[in-house]
Symmetry: C2
Subunit: 344 residues, 2 copies
């Protein structure tokens, strides 16, 4: 499975990445919010013992203990979509197991004991679920999950009962955002048991025109049904976005090209750049690549920049604590450097 | 004398060009507004006979008859600051004599019979006046000017009586415009008998932060006094502009650099570009050159672009009639091409 950041443009330009998350809890151990620091760390140990059962696994995976890191370092994992804000809130006793390719992350002591996540580039839910299930099976060999015949996997929050599966697709919807269709879409998706959120999940708005569409309902459906429903909905969203793009482009070809190239021009020239502005400009450039207007940018660079321009990752790259003003200056430098070879 | 468009940055970064205009009328011939087409053309002939008196002059100068040209072609001369709007309004019987270097233009049948103009790059009023006086002397050898001992040169409009000299300096005042000092300056200049106008004279506002400062009073002062007064005023304006630049730069170094480089970025990337926006972006880039922030643009390119982006000149360059939308597209192409080698 390929890291989503590395993913080049594939058959489906609207979709950036696909993600699967399984929530699991271990029988006879209280949910994380009832565990003290020592008990929490014991659980981390217990999961590690169950997981690292062969030299191959030990070679391919490592555990990152949040309590050993500075806050900014932990935030870089959040910005890479490898862990959740809730895991960081539990830093004192939280950890996660990560593979080298950074496509799989097993969060320990998030809201549930385990949150297995797999993420990959493009529209690829089946393969992503397969990978998550493999990890799940491996863990289940040595851990007894809390499971109920009727309620399915038992989870800290009742909205996750049943399959405890959340499948999520990250999409780039500049045209539906521009023509405001996104507002109606949000309501429509809620009515069919789906939800749409911003780049960084709950509470984050659609900055950079990037949204995550995921299933809301986990109980009473099989995993395959959840995936089938989500796939159907996402395909509809893709079609609508493409139609909206065609309409805008047919009506205002030069206006669209102007916006795309000016965005590239500003990204290549700015001395001060906020992350919000950068996300929006990168969205326009991404649209240019997706429409075939810009041909000399690798999508990999744009994906990586989505993460690299974030505050914590930026500070990791420049190896120093940076104030907001310093971040804006360094962000501009970084973006300019990454896009240096791209022609205007 | 060097053409102002060709002028490279010299010792004085704020000043773009210097211009002298002398108004003259020929004795016993009514002012142009009283001449019919035939009489007007007779006057053109009379001036030509008096002017083209040697093979050297015939080689160096030529007459352009506005009535032979399309309106757009005549407008290109206006955009180059070689003739005035009033000359164009009189197209049916107006002409002008132009030297090869395009530093001298003798307008015939403007508001007065003759308007001798010389224009050069940088802050250079003395040399410019000298050149105008030379032409004036030459014409006076064979034409009898309308002159009164008390009122000086007689002109169609009484505000030009006396020396009938207007000296004018084109300046770039982005800092005084940004901090709004320009408003007070306008009032102060009026009180000392000076006037400040936009890039294209009366009625044009200070687009692109470019202004023309000139003497308002022509009667009761000698030519040298007019020049000395104007030079004094312009030197004060230069000092205030420089001080304002220093203050802005000291306070917001990165903000200034950001604005300058973004402007260059947009000029190098836009697909649609209005002349108003282009003028303002070019002003920011000019400031960057004047402040030594941008080092690889020849000021000549920026001067020429001031004219080349104007509607008529643009159509001349692209050799076709262009609608406003087409001009905006072609203007963007032209600017991109001219700035192609400049690094961001």
């Amino acid at each position: 499975m390929e890291n989503w950041l590395e993913n080049k443009i594939d058959t489906e330009p609207v979709v950036i990445s696909s993600r699967i998350r399984l929530a699991r809890n271990i029988k006879n151990i209280p949910f994380p919010n009832k565990l003290d620091e020592e008990q929490g760390k014991d659980l981390v140990k217990k999961v590690e013992d169950a997981f690292y059962i062969s030299p191959e696994i030990e070679d391919k995976y490592k555990t990152i203990y949040l309590w050993q890191n500075e806050h900014t370092r932990n935030n870089t994992y959040l910005e890479e979509h490898l862990i959740s804000q809730k895991l960081i809130n539990n830093s004192k006793q939280a950890a996660f197991i990560l593979n080298k390719n950074e496509t799989v992350s097993i969060m320990i002591n998030e809201e549930d004991h385990l949150r297995l996540q797999s993420i990959t580039g493009g529209f690829n839910l089946e393969e992503t679920l397969e990978y998550a299930n493999k990890i799940d099976d491996l863990l289940e060999e040595r851990l007894e999950y809390a499971f109920d015949e009727k309620l399915g996997y038992l989870t800290a929050c009742p909205t996750n009962l049943g399959t405890a599966l959340r499948a999520s697709v990250m999409v780039h919807l500049p045209a539906l955002t521009a023509n405001k269709e996104i507002v109606g879409l949000l309501n429509a998706l809620t009515q069919v048991g789906m939800t749409i959120r911003g780049l960084y999940g709950e509470g984050s708005s659609g900055e950079g025109n990037i949204y995550q569409i995921s299933n809301q309902v986990t109980l009473g459906l099989r995993e395959e049904e959840i995936l089938r429903n989500l796939t159907g909905v996402v395909n509809q969203v893709i079609d609508r976005e493409k139609l909206a793009r065609e309409r805008i482009f047919a009506k205002n070809k030069y206006v669209v090209e102007d916006k795309i190239y000016r965005s590239l021009g500003v990204l290549k020239s700015a001395v001060i750049l906020s992350s919000k502005e950068a996300l929006n400009l990168l969205s326009n450039v991404r649209l240019g690549v997706e429409l075939g207007i810009i041909n000399d940018i690798n999508m990999r660079i744009l994906n990586k920049l989505l993460v690299e321009i974030q505050p914590a990752t930026l500070q990791k790259i420049f190896e120093s604590k940076l104030s907001e003003k310093e971040r804006d200056l360094n962000r501009a430098k970084l973006v300019k450097e990454k896009l240096e070879t791209v022609r205007l």
